[in-house]
Subunit: 332 residues, 2 copies
């Protein structure tokens, strides 16, 4: 099959990549669309030391389910349009995380296109049947590609009680920042965004978000002051983290969404003195994300920059690295 | 009056220091005992840029209350043995923190012996009447000195839901570490401590805490693994923070208690990937601390190394800097 593969520090389009190994309890999925994520770009910079097929945001069609038990319980999924949770957990009886409803933290997990499992920029992929979610008919393929990162932003509402009277600042105007702003907006609280690109900020403005260019950040910080209840760091820069600590109020919360590979020099005393909660946040629940898309609570369509065939995958990667590109699905 | 004063980068015993200015709504307290805290030592190293009388852990007797309203409402405190909350808030109607039950975060606050208010190593101090708490008869002066740091550890139970089935590691065997271990032990959960000094660790051992010498820390980390629900960082060292992140489980909590003046180089990706909560923690509620002492739920007496007269204050400071000293009240 065709696959966009990262190996030996190079990204290549392999037209003769082997089909995924068929495993009991897993579904073989024919990928129809996949999205490029910042993590993919980080992997190409050496993050996680991953080698293999990239990509973890996708929509596809279940072609087959392997194993008698899985077939019996999940046979109805064959032929269905689906998205899939990216962490494949062990679910062993002696796994602390799996047995406590936290399979995304299973220490034995593989992760689609990130850790020990080939990803979605290929004709086919395999995922455990438990990870697979049918996509409602009124959600297009292009929209469904956003389910994974959208779920990661619903994770914030799982972790922190965000109140309608809260003020929220999103740092970063990329895909994660845009989705964070939309999800926080559902609580009807005050949402602000600081970003680098006016063409991205305008997308958030249209959703009622007050936006500020990073060039004006100093003025913004002085104007707003340390009064923000929740700061969501999606910029992935050391500068973002520093700004976050200048905005968040005492006893406020700072959500860390970016996984960056470098160490950051942090002055911790203000976190202690002001009793700040710094909360790491990663993958989230798919069901609310699918519901939000189906109910049109969020609108991801303006976030799509362009669409490429898998054969043009390398060009798509180069495009993503350009300024102003929020997100682009790669059509297989 | 006599006062132990930090000024022009020197700690001096001043026998002709002026009495505190008498302010409406405040109580004049004659100090009977005061404790030396790590923050006092940090101040002498330049932390907070404070100049003035040091000390914020004390017990004393109310001599007078100033202002008609205060006298009417708090007149019964005159002659009483009291401890005092150290943050003097503004309580203005337009103060966000004061009006939301968070006076310890009032941006206009002064802090006894730390920010813009002379402290407890003196014959007298002044504090707002709202900050003053009578000490139950069955709590000695020596014990009462521990109310402030004990309250700071009850703050952890205000911030985080610590469960009886949780495992807790306290990093640091000093006063804060000892009090943290005792307070966490009240929940009857598994408590472990890593510290530098066997003579301090033995104090925790006697309270049912499993203790480990820092020299064996590598073995401890490998043995325990990343399974700890709650790590409380009281060591104040960069090494402690790194160890904390190697012990805390995914979705676990790391409490930061130490205020250190340097920046720390932190690798943030694990906090995101493992969705760790890093929670700064400072001052806490006095009432539960007083109750715990009165009910003998905690025992601070073994934590007292020695007792000095105020005239010997400089010697007391030198003693505190020695190895194995947990805590020493200075008798005025």
């Amino acid at each position: 099959m065709r696959a966009l593969v990262y190996r030996n520090a190079r990204l290549v389009l392999d037209r003769t990549y082997p089909m995924p190994a068929l495993v009991d309890g897993e579904a073989l999925i024919r990928v129809t669309h996949a999205g490029i994520c910042n993590t993919d770009l980080e992997i190409v910079r050496g993050y996680m030391g991953f080698q293999g097929v990239l990509g973890h945001e996708f929509v596809g069609v279940v072609e087959e389910i392997y194993g008698d038990v899985a077939q019996e319980r999940y046979g109805h999924l064959v032929g269905k349009r689906v998205v899939g949770e990216i962490n494949a957990a062990c679910y062993r009886p002696d796994c602390w995380y799996c047995q406590r409803g936290a399979p995304t933290h299973c220490p034995h997990r593989t992760t689609l296109g990130i850790v020990n499992r080939d990803g979605a920029f290929a004709d086919h992929l395999m995922l455990p049947v438990e990870n697979v979610h049918p996509v409602p008919d009124n959600v297009s393929d292009e929209e469904a590609v956003f389910v994974e990162p959208l779920a990661a932003n619903f994770e914030i509402l799982e972790q922190v009680h965000v109140k309608p009277t809260d003020s929220v600042v999103v740092l970063g105007d990329g895909k994660m920042g845009q989705l964070a702003a939309q999800v926080m907006g559902l609580v009807s609280c005050e949402v602000m965004m600081v970003g680098k690109y006016s063409e991205k900020l305008i997308l958030a403005e249209k959703r009622g978000v007050h936006t500020y260019l990073l060039d004006d950040a100093e003025r913004f910080v002085l104007e707003i002051g340390r009064r923000v209840d929740l700061v969501i760091e999606c910029s992935g820069s050391a500068q973002g983290l520093e700004m976050a600590l200048r905005l968040v109020r005492a006893r406020g919360t700072l959500i860390l969404k970016s996984t960056v590979s470098e160490k950051s020099l942090l002055y911790l005393a203000p976190i202690v003195i002001d009793e700040i909660r710094v909360q790491g946040s990663r993958c989230g629940p798919f069901a609310p994300a699918l519901k939000a898309l189906s109910q049109k609570l969020v609108d991801v369509r303006p976030l799509i920059s362009s669409c490429y065939k898998l054969d043009e995958g390398l060009t798509a990667y180069k495009h993503t690295l350009q300024k102003g590109v929020v997100k682009l699905p790669v059509q297989v």
